[in-house]
């Protein structure tokens, strides 16, 4: 049983695997109520007035950072941005020193995006404020997985019995890792589809089905999540070229003919149209891409609310 008034049990959000299903339900319940706030003419509530949130994005990001910024401001928290270009990281300061400097300013939470896997855990082990992982290397992107699952839950009412196919560069994707954990625990069957060069070694130990062929992977699926292909994968010798990649793994309308009726298409963005997703499909009625963005603000409001009021609830 989830108790909405119980203190939130976590200091940090590092990955989805820390969260119980009850925790996830609480996040979704809060996100649903904040969705309503986001529809008002005046989209602001005083819930987090006086709280400060540092947005520490040591890797370029537009949508995630804007989403967190908007989530914080709509809850009346003060948000402070630390961009990678202006950051002392470019001057050679260690992550530890940056972290201790931020801590000394006594924020209530730090939202971190970093290219190194484990960077969020590194901060969480050393700092007293809440650390929210907004993407660390190839490791985890829990808020993206939560907003994806939330989007699908709103669409379907629940994920039990549904089949979700994740398509593309799994090996280098934090989005895929967090989604595999969360979607499977919420009852979905997860399929992964990619050339073997873009799958992690020993992926057999993951609770997923593996496909190389896109048509077979999509057969009967209720949703397909396309991942962004980083163009540097060609230089690393992992795929031959974009033309062949698109021919084999670009999701198009013809693949969806064998999918479940009303199949939904997701993409965490930013999209490479014509590489991993057909451009017309991205704009079609089955696309949930913009719903994901809207859900993202509500889910991040829910997370900031739960993490930043955990001490008040405890009193």
């Amino acid at each position: 049983m989830s108790n909405e008034n119980a203190p939130w049990p976590h200091k940090d959000l590092l990955d989805t695997d820390q969260l119980s299903l009850d925790d996830v339900r609480r996040i979704f319940a809060a996100a649903t109520s904040f969705q309503e706030v986001n529809q008002r003419p005046v989209k602001k509530v005083p819930t987090l007035r006086g709280k400060s949130v540092v947005l520490f994005f040591a890797e370029p990001s537009t949508r995630t950072k804007t989403s967190f910024d908007m989530a914080g401001k709509r809850l009346s928290a003060d948000t402070f941005s630390l961009a990678s270009s202006s950051s002392s990281l470019t001057k050679g300061e260690s992550l530890k020193d940056t972290a201790l400097t931020l801590q000394a300013m006594n924020p209530d939470a730090i939202v971190i995006r970093h290219r190194a896997s484990g960077a969020a855990a590194f901060l969480a082990q050393r700092l007293e404020c809440s650390i929210i992982n907004a993407g660390d290397g190839w490791h985890a992107h829990p808020t993206q997985a939560l907003l994806d699952a939330f989007t699908l839950t709103q669409e379907w009412g629940g994920l039990a019995g549904k089949t979700v196919c994740i398509l593309g560069d799994i090996a280098h994707s934090r989005v895929a890792r967090s989604n595999v954990d969360l979607l499977t625990r919420l009852g979905a069957t997860v399929r992964l589809c990619a050339p073997r060069t873009l799958l992690p070694h020993r992926i057999e130990s993951w609770p997923v089905e593996i496909f190389g062929d896109l048509s077979r992977a999509v057969d009967g699926a209720h949703a397909v999540m396309c991942l962004r292909l980083q163009l540097e994968r060609m230089q690393a010798g992992l795929i031959p070229d974009l033309r062949e990649y698109a021919r084999c793994w670009c999701l198009g309308p013809r693949h969806l003919e064998r999918a479940a009726p009303d199949v939904r298409v997701l993409h965490p963005g930013p999209m490479n149209r014509g590489v991993e997703i057909d451009s017309a499909l991205a704009d079609s009625l089955s696309s949930l891409v913009l719903d994901q963005v809207a859900s993202g603000v509500a889910v991040r409001m829910a997370l900031l609310f739960l993490y930043l009021t955990r001490k008040e609830a405890a009193q």
Partner: protein
């Protein structure tokens, strides 16, 4: 001749020709050499001799560490010759072979001589330092290092350790040239195009942590190359720090064919798996990386059976601030001189490693391979003796470690077994 040093009532770990293991002995030394090892007799008295009563203690020969990074010259904030040899003395090592990846690289006789001078000044009675020369100038695998010069200055072997040799042709010529000057080549086996120095095994843990992993193939492929070269050339090659089952299987195959290879592993490959890297613990980041339980068991069996000849530390000190960073930014390496004997000894009670094999792998085998006289407790052997208290527990900490660097996954853990006395040529160094 009368003894000038007597160690009384100690247990001799693996016995001698005449004295079975496990009996209490009195070890008599004179003029820096073993005079005799007699069954313990409480009534026997010695005049004009330093007498060390050692009931409950184990008598071991001074150990030989075939693989150490002393960081001196160039990175003395991590370790220097003096501090490294102090750690060695307290860890039970009387001979230390130090790798050439210093700054500058040990590719010139003057650098070798400077290292040996520092060692003699800081530790006149030992432990003794045996520099390993660079295989190629600057460790760049382009031009051979002046091996005849280096050997004359005191280099005991040659190695590329830290920077794998990418081409078989260069490696072949290096082995041939080293053999000409009477030295063995030690190869750090790593196919340099496959996730070099990732410090993390490619497998389930790297996949879930989102870290680049190095596949065991990267190590084993070079092991196979070296084995075939050694057989083809009929020249010895020593394979450093093997970590995985495939390498061990290849070495067994090589020995069955009579290829002149010898091989080593390290305590961490006997005791830890890739799981130690969970939570992005950079203290467990080491090259080659910690592998799986299957590999650990294969390496243990191979050490006990003698397929792996040598147990060395690969002592690789790094400062705290270098390790306290993102996992992919941290340098590879574990500080090992302080803990190796306690860790190896921890495998003896369960029979995973016999005392006989432990002593051979940590002393006589590297002595044989590199030409260092070791103590077999026979008359005339060097009086290089370690007194080890297997029951004494100690906690690994900044205070208890003698190395300048505490980058070990055992930091904060309690270990059993401590060196309580160490003599070289009959002179007390601990």
């Amino acid at each position: 001749m009368s003894p000038d040093l007597v160690i009384r009532a100690a247990r001799l770990a693996c016995g001698t020709k005449d004295r079975p293991a496990d009996c209490l002995v009195d070890c008599l030394c004179a003029d820096g050499r073993i005079l005799d090892v007699l069954p313990h007799d409480p009534a026997r008295a010695f005049e004009n001799a330093e007498v060390v009563d050692a009931p409950g203690l184990v008598l071991l020969p001074s150990l030989v560490d075939a693989h150490v990074h002393l960081r001196d010259p160039g990175q003395e904030y991590k370790e220097d010759v003096a501090s490294g040899l102090t750690a060695a003395a307290h860890g039970g090592f009387g001979h230390v072979l130090c790798m050439a990846n210093t700054r500058p690289v040990n590719d010139a006789a003057s650098i070798t001589e400077a290292m040996r001078d520092k060692a003699r000044r800081a530790h006149p009675h030992g432990p003794r330092l045996h520099p390993i020369g660079a295989l190629s100038k600057g460790l760049e695998a382009r031009e051979l290092a002046p091996m005849a010069d280096l050997a004359a200055a005191g280099c005991i072997a040659f190695s590329n350790d830290g920077l794998p040799v990418p081409t078989a042709e260069f490696f072949r010529r290096a082995v041939e040239y080293a053999a000409t000057v009477g030295r063995v080549v030690i190869d750090h086996c790593e196919e340099p195009s496959m996730a070099p120095a990732a410090g993390m095994n490619e497998g389930a843990v790297s996949a879930s942590l989102g870290l680049r992993g190095q596949p065991w193939v990267a190590e084993a492929a070079q092991v196979a190359r070296d084995i075939l070269l050694a057989e083809y050339l009929g020249l010895p090659i020593h394979l450093a720090h093997l970590s995985c089952k495939a390498s061990v299987d290849l070495v067994a195959f090589a020995k069955a064919r009579g290829a002149p290879v010898t091989a080593e592993t390290c305590p961490h490959y006997l005791l830890l798996t890739e799981a130690a890297c969970q939570d992005y613990d950079t203290k467990a980041k080491v090259n080659p990386p910690l592998r799986t339980q299957e590999d650990v068991e294969a390496v243990r069996q191979a050490l006990e059976s003698g397929v792996l000849d040598v147990l060395a530390t690969d002592h690789a000190p790094h400062a705290d601030h270098e390790k306290e960073v993102e996992f992919d930014q941290a340098p590879c390496g574990i500080s090992g001189l302080d803990t190796a004997l306690s860790l190896a000894w921890s495998l003896t009670p369960g029979g995973l490693l016999s005392e006989k094999r432990l002593v051979d792998a940590m002393c006589h085998a590297p002595g044989r391979i590199f030409g260092i006289a070791t103590n077999r407790f026979e008359p005339g052997d060097p009086a290089d003796v370690v007194l080890f208290d297997p029951a004494r527990s100690w906690t690994v900490s900044r205070e208890t470690m003698r190395s300048k660097s505490c980058n070990t996954p055992w930091l904060g853990r309690t270990l059993f077994g401590r060196v309580v006395g160490h003599f070289m040529s009959g002179k007390r160094i601990v």
